[in-house]
Symmetry: C2
Subunit: 342 residues, 2 copies
């Protein structure tokens, strides 16, 4: 039995204006008719192999989680303060049985090849049972500077590799070099480990975080299927990512390579690449008129959008906000999000 742990943190400002405030990226139907969160929940259906999920989310996202979960059972752990992926995972680890296998997944990704994902999980299980902390590595198909990279070391049978080192989001030249060299994969932010193994690693590497999480749960409140860790106790934890706090300094981390149609939808460009398109390469949602235009992403948001003579552009309408952005610059949407959301 594997315990899915779904992380719902993150504001997803790179997909502004649709993603903002209470309605973060993971709760939007950005690829298909269901939200990324709903797709994530469905990926590990509660049954013989997977337990009902633990869902880590901030207070602001509780209504969205409840609405999108419907009557599916889950344990909500409401983060009283944002403390990074290390803080969220510490709460899950402190709550879980030490012998449970935790499968940590971000809630804002797309995986199109589910059998490949499940097969990779099974390979990871064998490593996790031998006290490896398992990451899943995506084969890079471009020198993307938006991801962390993992260098594979010694092979661990046919299950995966020991991680030689982690490479933070690299400059373009280094990304190109790694792509050419081979043996590197993208860090998808999906992890599998025994809860007790991660607890011990945290007590060794970032004890303040783990103790804060444990104490916050002990002194928190329970409201039906939701745990509310104590804000004051949890506030003692510094905010950190699990990569920095544990993985990069632990010497028993494995990577399981997997090719599963993965995308983190980290930009409107990524959404465009994944979307269904017409013969001209346009992905249009809503009332959109196109003339002499190709390779665009248009999301009309209830209004009427007319596009003439445009290529490689995203137009996203949300309420009174209209974003027009070159797909090549789609990371720069943060500038607009920052200016508009203050």
């Amino acid at each position: 039995m594997i315990q899915p742990v779904i992380l719902c943190g993150g504001a997803g400002t790179r997909l502004w204006p649709e993603s903002r405030g209470h309605r973060a990226k993971q709760f939007l139907p950005l690829a298909g008719s269901e939200s990324l969160f709903q797709q994530t929940v469905k990926r590990t259906p509660a049954g013989a192999r997977f337990a009902p999920p633990m869902i880590l989310c901030g207070t602001a996202h509780v209504p969205a989680v409840r609405e999108q979960m419907g009557d599916q059972s889950a344990l909500l752990i409401v983060e009283p303060l944002p403390r990074g992926t290390a803080g969220a995972i510490a709460l899950a680890v402190a709550q879980a049985d030490p012998d449970a296998l935790l499968l940590v997944m971000p809630s804002d990704q797309v995986i199109t090849d589910l059998p490949a994902f499940h097969a990779a999980i099974e390979r990871g299980v064998e490593l996790a049972q031998h006290d490896w902390i398992v990451t899943f590595g995506i084969a890079p198909d471009r020198p993307d500077t938006g991801f962390g990279y993992i260098a594979s070391g010694t092979a661990l049978g046919d299950k995966g590799f020991a991680v030689e080192r982690f490479v933070e989001k690299p400059p373009l030249e280094e990304a190109k070099r790694m792509l050419a060299a081979g043996g590197f994969s993208w860090n998808a932010g999906i992890f599998l480990f025994r809860a007790g193994r991660m607890r011990d690693a945290m007590l060794a590497r970032c004890p303040t975080i783990f103790v804060a999480a444990r104490d916050a749960l002990a002194t928190g409140t329970v409201d039906g299927d939701a745990l509310h860790p104590d804000p004051q106790e949890f506030g003692h934890a510094p905010s950190d990512s699990i990569d920095y706090a544990v993985l990069e300094c632990d010497d028993r981390v494995a990577v399981v390579p997997v090719s599963m149609g993965w995308s983190d939808l980290g930009s409107w460009h990524a959404v465009q690449l994944l979307a269904a398109k017409d013969a001209m390469g346009n992905a249009a949602m809503g009332d959109v008129f196109l003339h002499g235009s190709s390779n665009n992403l248009i999301r009309a948001g209830g209004r009427r959008v007319s596009i003439v003579g445009m290529s490689d552009v995203a137009v996203v309408v949300d309420g009174d906000d209209i974003l027009v952005i070159s797909l090549a610059c789609s990371q720069d949407v943060r500038a607009a999000a920052k200016a508009r959301e203050i």
Copy 2:
């Protein structure tokens, strides 16, 4: 005393979505805070030199004309049916004293150098008094295919030139050739003539149009300062342009060259060229955020528009309509206007 005749026909679909239906291009503040129609009226202020204008407009535009005229005096001639510039001018000619000098002006143009315009009118007056039908020619600064061209012939003293021939909107190659050759100017659609001279020309060249206009006025109704020519009588006139119906086949047409900061604002590109811009060449109206973007025209229409990494584009918001168009393709807006306004 010169009698201004202001033509308010034309839907201005090339400036869709702002220009449409009852709110045509000429009634919009597309260059400055006053509408193009208001600027046209101001160009020949009623006084010693100019009589109060005759205004030719369709039924749908009467409210806009009245609202924008305020308490300025004018004679409205309401075209019961659209019959082209020939039909509209025939109404003005039939209504005017045969010895009056009529100055016919479209209502949807920009002229930034008013003294130059007035000086050209005075040169034209001397020719019109000698029974020339006078056109005004704009020196072309680019091989524009959206205008008719006028070839200058014999000089008429220092006043202007006899027109050698008119060239219809040319293909690009011919436009380039004319620009290189010199001696060609754009037909601005501004005309000056004695009413009796034009009446005679119409009776010779297009008698059906003139007779229909005259009979429609004779059997029409008067409502204060507005004439309502009879629709049935006026309907006998075919629809035609004054260029086709008269000018191209009359042998006493003159062109007065004038450099007066003229633009017909015939596209969003033309509006962009004329607009006040920031250091990056962006012309923005309303709540606009720009990042890494240059040489754009953004009209936010009461919404919030954010532009990232875009160049040479127009974004025009009007109600629920959002147009995003490459400035280089700005004539193609008609495709969108047609699709949206059915």
